[in-house]
């Protein structure tokens, strides 16, 4: 099987490519070819026995989509996007990359498939940002999408296109509404959601982290490991089971910041937790207040998608995946 990952230089894309390289059996089939693409050159994952091509391409440029699919991959992961803040700051760029780029990809598949009978699976990374405005505490699968950002709008449009192209038989689409990823590895960034990871990641290595919102703030999150699991599982689903609604809210854990901190205390102790500095930021609190807090993702659960059920397991996944299984701050004690 030939996998194309568009957006392979991002955090999830890179981890997913590494996962396919180290565990190349998926749904009983062997991944023997990887095409990795991004606007910056993706890294070749270590340990892969098959063929790897790395491409630098921008889906919104004429001809780029045609080039990316020229090897007729069996499974295409479309993970590339301008993030929420940038899509809000630059209206034209957001629509060009997130809407036109996605449509270019779908159209390139339509035009190529018509000639050759090629019908790939397309796994599309959507986002909980498709929800916005007034919603219930726990959002059911059949709740309306009324995004309150341009990014969320572009993702919701991508979902509609994915569903129509799938219904038309052009490709087999699966859309995954990804939760916030926690613990996100790497340096602190300026995303409004960054603190959900920061208050775990930084203290574990002995660094201070700022908490800008009250402990009562509730959010929907899953580990990078579960997110990679979603992407792997999406390649194996039976289209007949997915039915006429190919866009799925992924499962995750609904926890409060206070619950995150208590889980960190149980795993790493008071000295680690003491690195969390409470510095209220009304702007961030207001932004976060507009985000969904919990979902009831019945359809994804019934299709076999799984996530952590305790926040401790999300922290342990981070310690295992990023810190070699040890807590540096504790060992420095």
């Amino acid at each position: 099987m030939h996998f194309l990952i568009i957006g392979a230089a991002g955090m999830i894309g890179r981890k997913f490519a590494e996962s396919l390289a180290s565990d190349a059996i998926l749904g009983g089939k062997t991944v023997d070819r990887l095409t990795l693409a991004d606007v910056v050159s993706p890294q070749e994952p270590a340990g892969f026995r098959g063929d790897v091509s790395c491409l630098t391409a921008d889906l919104s440029s004429p001809g780029a989509a045609e080039q990316l699919i020229s090897g007729r991959p069996d499974v295409i992961y479309h993970l590339a996007a301008i993030v929420s803040g940038e899509a809000e700051a630059d209206f034209e760029k957001g629509y060009r990359i997130n809407l036109d780029g996605t449509r270019n990809l779908f159209e390139a598949i339509r035009k190529a498939g018509g000639e050759e009978g090629w019908k790939p699976r397309v796994v599309y990374a959507s986002s909980n940002a498709v929800y916005g405005g007034d919603f219930p505490d726990v959002i059911p699968d059949d709740y309306i999408l009324t995004p309150q950002t341009s990014y969320g709008t572009q993702k919701a449009i991508g979902e509609l296109l994915l569903a129509d192209y799938t219904r038309r038989g052009i490709f087999q689409g699966i859309g995954l509404r990804l939760p916030t990823i926690c613990v996100r590895p790497g340096k602190p960034n300026r995303a409004a959601s960054g603190f959900f990871s920061g208050i775990i990641r930084e203290p574990l290595v002995g660094l201070d982290a700022v908490l800008p919102v009250p402990d009562t703030v509730r959010h929907w999150m899953t580990s990078p490991r579960s997110a990679i699991g979603f992407l792997r599982h999406a390649a194996t689903l039976d289209p007949a089971q997915v039915g006429d609604r190919p866009n799925l809210t992924m499962p995750a854990l609904s926890v409060t910041v206070g619950e995150q901190i208590e889980a960190l205390r149980r795993i790493a102790g008071d000295r680690v937790v003491a690195h969390i500095r409470r510095e209220p930021d009304p702007l961030i609190a207001r932004i976060v207040n507009g985000w969904a807090r919990a979902f009831d993702p019945q359809r994804a659960l019934s299709l076999g998608f799984t996530t952590e059920t305790r926040f401790e397991d999300i922290i342990l996944a981070h310690i295992e995946g990023e810190l070699g299984g040890r807590i540096p701050e504790r060992h420095a004690a």
Copy 2:
């Protein structure tokens, strides 16, 4: 006030232009200029005291949107679309007219507004076709849009764009999900929904009409007069009341075919009803079975949109509006 109607040669566009011509006061303001546009030349409505321009233009052509808005209208009605059957038969044409055409209009407004501080109201004709697949007997306002046609997909994307451009302050958007219009005047057409009007319109003038579905089929319909009322009312709404969800399911009447026929009998008698010929058509029955049967349009009702509450009134609106207030078949008796 200057009104632009795009799609002014269609049944609703023509009736709406006539309504503005004969009753040119809306929300306390005078309609003193009409720009009527369509892909075929629109007719100038009789009796209008202001300025009228009639334009032939296709929104999907480069420069057409800029030309249409060059007079900087205060209110823009975007009623133009390729209909459901054609959008399903011709994938590229449907997306070109219904998606690209809509986006061209919104983009032209964005680019013009940025320079001049112009911020028109945009009333967008959406459709109940945005709903599809599995839905409850009565669909609430917060139910998810999962269209099962390309037309419905294109309308749902238009709604998302309308909401984002409105949220961004580019224009004041109002999206109206129009019900099936009954009694649709004119000749029988080949639309799958045509019989809902045909079984009333044809018998009233002494012609036979085919009923291809069982009497138990339930559907959501309103009169042309109510639809024109929706369009007029949309121009007068306070944006603050509409809030962050500018797309509204319009009210209508949920009736069965059997109830339609009994209302016709009460108004026009057995001899008129006898013109309805039951000829079951499994294909049409299957298509109609996929359509929404009833809504609970709380938001539109609270914003003051109104419709008929008895099917008799829908028939009487037709007799008054199209037949000069008399039933030709009865008078021929």
